[in-house]
C-alpha cells in the first residue's frame, strides 16, 4: 500500500515532468549576437503539420522563414510599407508567382507589424487554414518579441 504523501509526491513529479515535456517540444531558441542581430527559431504543430519558424532581426529589417514539415527554403518575397500612404508593396524574389502562398503572408505581415520584411515561405499552395495559422503564430511571435512598430 502506497502512503498518501508518496502518492502525492509522485503525481506532483509527473505533473512537473509533463510541463517540462510540453516546454521542450515547443522549445524556442533565441540567440543574440553582440552586434545586435537576434535569431529566434521555434517549431509548432498545427493539425498534424509541423511548422518551423526562423526569425532574424536586423536593425532595419526582419527576415523570416516558414517551413512546413521540412527544411526546404521555399519561395522568397520582399514586402515593405511604401510612401506616401504606407500601403504595402510585395515582390517575389525567388521562385514565386503571384498566387503562391508566401506573397499574401508577406503582405499581411507588413500590414500588421509595420516592418520591412523578407519572407521565405514553404507553405504549399491551396492550404488556407495552414497559411492563416502560420501567419497568426508568426505575428504573435513578432509582437511578443517586441519587434513590431506601434500603430498610430
Amino acid at each position: 500500500m502506497v502512503p498518501n504523501d508518496l502518492k502525492e509526491a509522485i503525481s506532483n513529479g509527473v505533473e512537473t515532468s509533463t510541463q517540462s515535456i510540453n516546454q521542450l517540444t515547443m522549445e524556442e531558441q533565441t540567440s543574440q549576437d553582440d552586434g545586435g542581430v537576434q535569431i529566434t527559431c521555434f517549431s509548432e504543430v498545427s493539425n498534424e503539420v509541423t511548422l518551423h519558424f526562423q526569425i532574424i532581426r536586423l536593425q532595419k529589417q526582419i527576415y523570416a522563414w516558414i517551413g512546413c514539415n521540412s527544411a526546404k527554403f521555399g519561395y522568397l518575397y520582399a514586402a515593405a510599407p511604401t510612401r506616401p500612404s504606407n500601403t504595402v508593396s510585395v515582390t517575389s524574389l525567388i521562385g514565386g508567382a503571384s498566387d503562391n502562398t508566401g506573397s499574401g503572408v508577406a503582405r499581411r505581415l507588413v500590414l500588421k507589424t509595420g516592418l520591412n520584411i523578407i519572407l521565405a515561405c514553404d507553405i504549399p499552395k491551396n492550404s488556407p487554414m495552414l497559411e492563416a495559422d502560420a501567419e497568426k503564430r508568426l505575428v504573435q511571435k513578432l509582437i511578443s518579441l517586441g519587434y513590431t512598430k506601434p500603430k498610430m
Binding site: D33, T91, I94, I118
Partner: protein, 126 residues
C-alpha cells in the same frame, strides 16, 4: 524514459567582425536545398543574389548567378556570390545559395574578406 527533443531542422551560425573599419554581421543558415548567407554592415539585407549550379553532366560545373533584389550594377557582388557557390559546390553540396550583401563599401578587399570569413564558417552549419 528517454525524452528526445526534436532539434530545429535549420542550423545557423553567426559572427561579427570588423572589415576595413565597418562592423559586419554575417549569418549563415543551412536549409535542405539552400544556404542563406546574410552579410550586413547597414542593418538590412541590402542586395540579394541567387546562385545555383546548372544541371548538367559535364565534368566542370557551371553556375548561374543573378541579382534578384537591389544593386544590379555592382559586378563585385555577383563575383562574390559566384565565388561562394563555387566553394559550396566544391565542398560537395548541391544546394543553391541565397546571398544578401548590405555593404557600405564594395571594394575588392571587403569582398575578399567576406568570402574568406564565410568559407571558414561554412563547415559549422553543415
Amino acid at each position: 524514459m528517454d525524452i528526445s527533443v526534436p532539434t530545429f531542422p535549420v542550423r545557423h551560425s553567426s559572427l561579427s567582425l570588423d572589415i576595413e573599419g565597418n562592423k559586419t554581421e554575417i549569418i549563415i543558415s543551412s536549409y535542405e536545398d539552400h544556404f542563406l548567407i546574410i552579410v550586413t554592415q547597414i542593418g538590412s539585407m541590402g542586395t540579394i543574389l541567387h546562385a545555383r549550379k546548372d544541371e548538367g553532366v559535364s565534368i566542370h560545373p557551371t553556375f548561374n548567378v543573378s541579382v534578384t533584389f537591389g544593386k544590379r550594377d555592382e559586378p563585385m557582388l555577383v563575383a562574390c556570390a559566384r565565388q561562394l557557390i563555387e566553394q559550396i559546390s566544391a565542398s560537395g553540396y548541391s544546394k543553391g545559395l541565397v546571398l544578401s550583401l548590405g555593404l557600405k563599401d564594395h571594394s575588392v578587399g571587403t569582398l575578399k574578406r567576406i568570402v574568406s570569413a564565410v568559407i571558414e564558417k561554412l563547415p559549422v552549419v553543415t
